[in-house]
Amino acid sequence: MNELLSLLTNPNTQWVLAGSSLLGFASGLIGSFVLLKKQSLIGDAMAHATLPGVCLAFLLFGVKSIPLFLIGAATTGLIATYCIQAIVKHSRIKTDASIGVVLSVFFGLGIMLLTYITKHAKGNQSGLEDFIFGQAAAMVKSDIQVIAVGSLLIIILSSLFFKEFKISIFDPNYARGIGLPVSVFNLVLMALVVGVVVVGIQMVGVVLIAALLITPPLAARYWTDQLGRMGVIAGVFGAISGVTGTLISTAGEGLPTGPLIVLCASLIFVLSLLFGASKGIIVKAVRQT
């Protein structure tokens, strides 16, 4: 208990916790839109595809610079998303297969580059391996600032244009009919997903960041039938997962943060599946008797 208290009073931990809760909230919120648009897997592919970008940035500039890493991550993430859509558009391949192909190619490339980096150069000090599963303990104040600012921006944008996102996802043709630039909103949504992934990979890692986009909204759906509430509940679930995962990871000497955050989100999902006030299994069973 004392250990936990001293951890909580540590200013660095406080920073990390603030960052992880904001990141969790942002990804839960934006994930709600993505889930309803049935594009969760594109987010997953995009996340995996950020790894070669991080590695390339390191190889090109030879320094461990978070801003450069994030630019690299965003670039390859966006290229992957574009590839998925181009394959679907110009061939008979369906979205799921296209996502599978692109995800594995980009992630394979990323792992190859990462192995090269760790074996050569002064690789052991690069800390790039932390990008695979995330390592909150290794983060410094400036890393957290990037996460906080990015997450806040994402939260503000999606709240401002909440009404517009809602109608472009629910009824895109109708939205176009009233003159809304639906394709612009689709692009902005994709950009926001890239944003969450890119600011979040250092903490959660490229392999599991997508789970933070998918699981909290899925859990939230069991509690409400209103998109607004779903977004907020998903955000809160994301934040709880972020904070809990980070705390355990920081206290538990080097346990990777990403898996702990995702396990926590999954536990919330299972509880929601059972006890959810709107669609939970138990509520449904009680209603039927």
Binding site: K163, E164, F170, N173, R176, I178, L227
Partner: protein
Amino acid sequence: MKAIEIQNLAVTYERQPVLENVNFTIPEGTLTGIIGPNGAGKSTLIKSILHLIPRLSGDIVVYGKPYKKQRNLIGYVPQRSEVDWDFPTNALDVVLMGRYGHIGWIRRPNKKEIQFAYECLEKVGMKEFANRQISQLSGGQQQRVFLARALAQDAQIYFMDEPFAGVDAATEKAIMKLLQEWREQGKTVLVVHHDLQTVKDYFDHCLLLNKTPVDYGPTESVFTLDNLERTYGGAISFLGNSPILTQGG
């Protein structure tokens, strides 16, 4: 008064012509049924007029001005099957979407808008379902919600894509009552319609379509066996006074 003029509209899909040579003018205050076999391009016609899909050519003039300047005068009721009814929202919220064009960007609907949405729901007999999750509504009730949303849009010209598909008899009557009300208010309505037997009762004008308009005009002069055979390719016969399809259209 001309409500809508379509000039030289053509649409292709993967280089195949879907619609060509579409020219017609719809007078204000008319109720037009768009009739034609499957694949005739009925939905495509509506969507291309509304600028939802790209046109190869064609000008759409609404009350003498280009379509894009007159968007606020246009209401649209898509096919029910086009949206995800599991979406986390309720009937009132869907109707409020009809006000989004008036409310403008970023701003939230105020009390007046919400009150108006309730009134629209009441008009289609759905007020008590306002807070019902949309997946828990029947097909007919979902269509009424779409209708209430169209009412909330408060448009001058309405386009409806198969509003009668899969709805109960009471809803069909309610829809027709509303369409006739709109016509009396001088509004113009275009409806993609499938059931040939009701055409004469429902619509004062008819557009017979098969990739290109076969004929357009008042129902009594356009809705003839000869014209229908030209539209459907000879698969039509009359049973008493109403035509029926004898081969799948």
